[in-house]
Symmetry: C2
Subunit: 405 residues, 2 copies
Amino acid sequence: MTSQDGDALTDAARLREADEPSSPVIRFGKDKPLRLDAGVDLAPWQIAYQTYGTLNEDRSNAILVCHALTGDQYVASTNPLTGKPGWWSMMVGPGRPIDTDRFFVICANVLGGCMGTTGPASTNPETGKPYALDMPLVTIRDMVRSQAMLIDELGIDTLFAVVGGSMGGMQVLQWAASYPDRLFSAAVLCSGARHSSQNIAFHEVGRQAVMADPDWCHGKYLEYDVRPAKGLAVARMAAHVTYMSDQSLHRKFGRSLQDREHVTFGFDADFQIESYLRHQGMSFVDRFDANSYLYVTRAMDYFDLAADYGGVLAHAFKGSKTRFCIASVTSDWLFPTSESRAVVHALNAAAGNVSFVEIDSPRGHDAFLLNEPELFTMVRGFLTGGARSRGILPPALADDWEAHS
Amino acid sequence: MTSQDGDALTDAARLREADEPSSPVIRFGKDKPLRLDAGVDLAPWQIAYQTYGTLNEDRSNAILVCHALTGDQYVASTNPLTGKPGWWSMMVGPGRPIDTDRFFVICANVLGGCMGTTGPASTNPETGKPYALDMPLVTIRDMVRSQAMLIDELGIDTLFAVVGGSMGGMQVLQWAASYPDRLFSAAVLCSGARHSSQNIAFHEVGRQAVMADPDWCHGKYLEYDVRPAKGLAVARMAAHVTYMSDQSLHRKFGRSLQDREHVTFGFDADFQIESYLRHQGMSFVDRFDANSYLYVTRAMDYFDLAADYGGVLAHAFKGSKTRFCIASVTSDWLFPTSESRAVVHALNAAAGNVSFVEIDSPRGHDAFLLNEPELFTMVRGFLTGGARSRGILPPALADDWEAHS
């Protein structure tokens, strides 16, 4: 699975995206370093983003969408590497729940990522080579800090909403804690205020799979023109199983065989679930950087919002005026409902404004990325209510808009 | 993690165990081939086993214990490779629930294993080299067929009981289906009558991790005097997470850091769960053969007892007189209670004799291997009742024995 002819273009394209992304990018010089939790200043650095819709005159209709572990800024537009539609185009777009006819939507590639925001695949200005492991480790708070600097540059003081699922939801919670006056509302989907022991365990399995691949070259694979494709594919396969539920795997694949009537008594992909997972692993490798995978999983592992507030999660939201919407999915075992409830309880304890929904779906963690009408209705309703209260939508228009849902 | 000086002895010892085990072994010549589901006859072949206790004059007190994926015949005695106590010494031994003062306990290494029963690490008599992938694939039914030939050799017609957890439980169910007249009772713990899609998925991740390791050498690593240690360690780490529950990981490790107060902003094992998993991975590599891991996981994947009976599980137990005891554990998400219930329902439909217990424990799938008093009580009670009914224990003795529980 190391570089083959057919992959050469993708390899080159992926490398180019890291420094010269297809999307807009804001570059910060040495005068505007990004202060990292690791205790170092990152400079120069850059953040790549996409916007959708139009910022209103008041600059009050901006929604920041935070992406999950392996997402990117192409939330509602074609990904330049894969040619596939935006990863959340059912949720974000004209007439969609996050309606780009009404709102100005911003989505930035996370710090540590590989789609144009500074990460381990970016060129280290001091050496002219990719950073690899010389890139300092980043945290969810660092990601949020970089996003705050981005909206400063875009001339936006207060966001109407910050919305995200999974690792995106962690960023939303961190936004609410770090910049309570800069967001009017916050939607946290299939997420939690900390990464559990089991979740750290699965991430560690993935990282060990990457680092076990000799083509990882202690992180310097880009210098050697190879990539740890097999290791990264295994990491993705393991992770992918955790994104689905036992139920959804059973419904989708069961024990069905792959194009045959009988097992082959061999190690080929006899079962459909096997070829599905292999495909997931291999296609991931084409679009994602292995070191970024290490960095971003590590950022999730380190996330424990309460720890920054003396172990009391409620203190993270003290005095917050932000409106919160928290949603979990019944069959999500990676971020089970109990994790969302812990956030709701903390918000209640802080006298926060919060609504909570547990969505009944068999689709597991990834449900938030799929066609889940209940989730769409909930997000649409939450944003409509907020927009009306914020005076962004005239009441009549809001009624009309709500009627679409 | 490839062969280091310190591991050389273990490597040699492990290789020797495959052909010349420390335990008793029965060798079958070309005149007694093992007919495999793959459609080939395996011959010569051998089966390595341990016994505990004494066979009574009637030859009616024999209990066969079937081990799980990475278990071995050393159920209640020191493992010659690791020097550790038997893997089920809390369950099997003098005065234990499976009481070797009363019963004659047999435990054999499974077909495809690496502790003396023929498997991919065994010497292929045709080449003088290890079989590697030239060993035909084996199934749970093949394992059971080999065990039936073993008890023939031991002069035992009918087993008082067959007992096993996880993959061991699959063998128990297969015993009941294949040889209904040769077992009086059957105890199936934390298991099921088929491997689910999610379970196949996790096994496939593990196999891909092994096969991604260049030291796997397309299975021929023993010939090249290397071993796919990193790949096998990753496979074991991924599997190990599935053997525990979210709860037990949280209780045992939570987000506790490893010998330090703060995270290191690096990829060392910051969290205790990480160093625990790394240790699990590395110690497994010292005692287990990578190709055996492929073979035995595949046997589990292929297991679907109902499929052999027109898709109706009840038909597998038609007319069975065997007494069944089925137990599941509340927090076991690898073989959830629903899988056990499916077996109970099938037995009910077949008018079978079955008792079922769901044990309330936070320890996940591995609970059956741990100190779970409720499980011990259940197994002891089940065997006592059966022994009394079978006339193995005089009523008075049985009372006395039961009082120990």
